[in-house]
């Protein structure tokens, strides 16, 4: 028995109340002592001088972004950068940070959701900084692709600078096409194929067993299904809305939009060339393409690395098909889907943040992005660079990627987008499952218009 224990016991035996008090004091002292190094540890981890960079990425993407951060650190040793990787639920995490008074200095903005932050005054209007940095502004203007740069222009302000293009296109399995005797699809956006040609190819590439079970699918979608349906509608001559910024009406009730969505839904439910809602529950559509069980896959460049890692997969990329309502001779379209870098309006390190944004969205940062195999850069110099071509040696139709950003159109930019998505999720479901015709989207159009009028 230790002397301390003995003393405690003897004081209790003697009936002295001080024993308990001493015990309490000791407990308090012990607690304080144990907490002190922990608190100190927290303080040391928390580098208050550093510029915080908030972004969302999967592990591969995080590595590529860290290359940009590391290169920036190397070139700007005086600026400390603390990367903050978001978990799932970006807006939830961001709002929690900002509510706690620790809004990140530089934050990733998404084409569809940045307006929600810009409208609330969270993001800094970068025009003020661009006006002071005329040389960079001029370089950016000449190097940028107009539609991508303008995506982040909202209510007269420039709230982010684009850093990568994440539009969607089609991957196709060259070997499966050759085996089925289907001619290879187009090589550029300017000479697209039609919905009918696409359907014929998908039908010829779908194989079923004697029991009717699909052994190989003609087409799989690896993106959000309602956005993919909307992309088919864009290629049928209907933009999501006119204008794209602060729209008061979305074109879900347009006949050509309905026609394209119906065509997309029919691929699964009527023509049976794509897996339906039940079938995609049990399998990853990207994996189906990677293992050669699907001939065409709709997706963005973030799938590229998954597919080049797949053993024995010989693939290339092609453009979207165009519908009958798109004017003749019109090129096929992709969506913009870009992320950009924004600066928090409450940042205490605006100058350092601006240096970082300039670096990541400028020629050097974009060159690193282009060589990563993970992203398509947004500056012309990086798009047409040897580094980008070298990172994509596996594909022949490189023009689909290098001219993709220029053939992209945006989705609506409104602070009410989260509410619109919730409505879309509800109303597109039955149409894409085949339990309601696409004409029912007229009802969705009215609901969305109400939300847009009173967000």
């Amino acid at each position: 028995m230790t002397p301390v224990n003995r003393a405690a016991i003897s004081s209790t035996m003697l009936g002295k109340p001080f024993g308990r008090r001493s015990l309490l004091r000791s407990a308090a002292a012990l607690t304080a002592a144990s907490l002190a190094p922990w608190a100190a540890g927290c303080a040391s981890d928390d580098d208050d001088d550093a510029l915080t960079f908030f972004f969302a990425a999967n592990p591969d993407e995080a590595k590529a972004r860290m290359h940009v951060v590391d290169e920036f650190r190397r070139r700007h040793p005086d600026i400390k950068v603390r990367p903050v990787l978001s978990g799932p639920g970006v807006m939830q995490q961001l709002s929690t940070f900002c509510a706690g008074g620790r809004c990140p200095d530089v934050l990733m903005g998404w084409e569809l959701t940045y307006a929600e932050l810009a409208a609330r005054g969270v993001l800094l209007d970068l025009n003020t900084l661009l006006a002071q940095d005329k040389a960079f502004a001029a370089e950016l203007k000449s190097e940028s692709i107009g539609s991508l740069y303008d995506t982040f222009t909202y209510n007269g302000g420039q709230y982010a600078l684009p850093e990568q293009w994440a539009g969607n296109y089609l991957f196709y399995n060259k070997q499966l096409f050759a085996e089925a005797g289907v001619p290879p699809p187009p090589t550029t956006w300017e000479q697209p194929w039609t919905f009918a040609q696409f359907q014929d190819a998908a039908t010829a590439l779908t194989h079923r067993s004697g029991s009717g079970r699909a052994m190989q699918w003609g087409f799989v979608n690896t993106w959000w299904s309602y956005y993919s349906a909307g992309l088919f509608a864009m290629n049928n001559g209907v933009p999501w809305s006119t204008p794209l910024k602060n729209p008061t009406h979305l074109n879900f009730d347009d006949d050509a939009f309905i026609e394209a969505v119906q065509f997309y839904a029919d691929l699964s439910n009527k023509y049976r060339v794509a897996p339906n809602a039940s079938e995609v529950q049990s399998m990853s559509t990207a994996d189906l393409f990677a293992v050669g069980k699907a001939a065409i896959a709709l997706g963005g460049h973030w799938r590229y690395q998954t597919f080049i890692r797949a053993q024995g997969l010989d693939f290339d990329v092609t453009c979207m098909p165009v519908g009958p309502s798109l004017p003749k001779g019109h090129a096929a379209l992709s969506n913009i889907g870009s992320t950009g870098l924004a600066i928090s309006a409450s940042s205490q390190r605006k100058e350092q943040a601006w240096e970082f944004v300039k670096f990541a969205t400028g020629p050097i940062g974009q060159a690193i992005i282009g060589e990563s195999c993970l992203f398509v850069p947004v500056l012309r110099s990086a798009l047409n660079s040897d580094g980008f071509a070298k990172a994509h040696q596996r594909i022949r139709n490189l023009a689909v990627l290098t001219t993709g950003p220029a053939h992209s159109e945006g989705l609506p930019v409104t602070p009410a987008w989260e509410k619109v998505v919730a409505l879309m999720d509800r109303e597109f479901g039955p149409v894409l499952r085949g339990s309601r015709p696409a004409t029912s989207l007229t009802g969705l159009s009215h609901e969305v218009d109400e939300v847009l009028r009173a967000p």
């Binding site: 209790t12 035996m13 003697l14 009936g15 002295k16 109340p17 024993g19 308990r20 008090r21 309490l24 639920g89 807006m91 939830q92 709002s95 929690t96 900002c98 509510a99 929600e116 932050l117 609330r120 005054g121 969270v122 809602a277 039940s278 079938e279 529950q281 049990s282 989260e418 509410k419 919730a422 999720d425 509800r426 109303e427 479901g429 039955p430 499952r433 339990s435």
Partner: protein
């Protein structure tokens, strides 16, 4: 009584000293120690419960998006909720269906399971452990596992139904099946807890009552219905109230099993999902707070009603017995 208490309580000298020092005596010191002991818990309750409660009540009268200062709206959030939000009615309807679909089967199944586990059979401990296992699994893990089970093409449930000739059921794909699937998982999660409570109550029923019933010729089922169930009414009432509260607060299970929007369509759009969506997707924290207080009010009314009914019944029962 501890050796510390003894001198203060027993010795008249100590008592006089305590009175003379005007409160500096051992009893006052004991009270202070007591306060010190509960202080950490009290602080935690204040910081993590009382403050958020008060804050959310304050926020329910404001418009607040976290980024900008709150703006006072008065009762506008509540007005909008009751008069112009069509999804509120859908969420109420779904929550009621989910509550009934969860609480009724939970109580009935746990009664039967507790009744079976209460029997004195060899190796009953193993069965008890198996039944209580789901209690140790987190809701999110449970929902992920059940997603595999509910898979339309390759799910365990449809494979097993296939053995008896039932075609594949689109458990999580079709709206009408989605709510049934959710209730099934919720019942699976709730039964162990309810069983623990009911089994404990059953073990408190005196053996002599059963012996008397046996003498009167009552069978097992008659004993269960006429003796066990009436005598564990308190525990049954507790289990019902807790299950109703849990069902009303359902969020994690729905979020993982049916998605962040309570789909497909609005099939599983319950109040918990609506609250989370408004707070963290739409950044309408004021509106979400108002909804939280409406949920609290509904639960309070339901619980008070339920307790009053139970009390009246037990009073009638005791009068009938006397």
């Amino acid at each position: 009584m501890t050796s510390v208490d003894t001198p203060a309580a027993a010795s008249p000298v100590s008592a006089r000293r305590a009175r003379g020092s005007k409160g500096k005596g051992p009893s006052r010191r004991r009270a202070r120690s007591g306060r010190l002991f509960i202080a950490p818990n009290l602080a935690a309750v204040t910081v993590f419960m009382v403050f958020p409660l008060g804050f959310s009540l304050y926020m329910s009268f404001q418009q607040w998006d976290v980024f900008n200062p709150p703006k006072f709206l008065g009762l506008k959030n509540f007005e909008q909720l009751f008069t112009s939000d069509p999804l509120f009615l859908i969420a109420i309807r779904n929550t009621l269906i989910f509550t009934i679909g969860t609480v009724l089967p939970t109580v009935l199944i746990s009664l039967v399971v507790a009744g079976v586990l209460n029997r004195k059979i060899k190796g009953i401990g193993i069965f008890r452990t198996i039944v209580f296992l789901p209690l140790a699994i987190s809701s999110v893990v449970m929902a992920v596992v059940w997603q595999f089970v509910f898979n339309t093409d390759n799910g365990l449930l449809n494979i097993m139904l296939g053995w008896i000739g039932v075609g594949p059921i689109p458990w999580l794909v079709e709206p009408r099946w989605a709510m049934i699937s959710l209730c099934m998982v919720s019942v699976w999660r709730s039964v162990p807890f309810a069983t623990v409570i009911l089994l404990a109550a059953m073990q408190g029923v005196p053996e002599t009552v059963y012996e008397a019933a046996k003498v009167d010729g009552a069978g097992h089922i008659r004993q269960f219905v006429s003796i066990t169930v009436p005598l564990i009414r308190g525990a049954l009432s507790f289990v019902t109230v807790i299950s109703v509260i849990h069902a009303f607060q359902a969020f994690d299970l729905v979020y993982v099993l049916n998605g962040a929007n309570g789909g497909p369509e609005t099939a599983t759009y319950v109040l918990g999902i609506m609250l989370f969506q408004h707070a963290f997707s739409f950044l309408e924290f004021g509106y979400a707070s108002a909804l939280a207080w409406v949920m609290f009010a509904i639960l309070l009314v339901l619980t008070v009603l339920q307790l009053r009914i139970t009390r009246e019944r037990s009073w009638e029962a005791s009068r009938g017995l006397s």
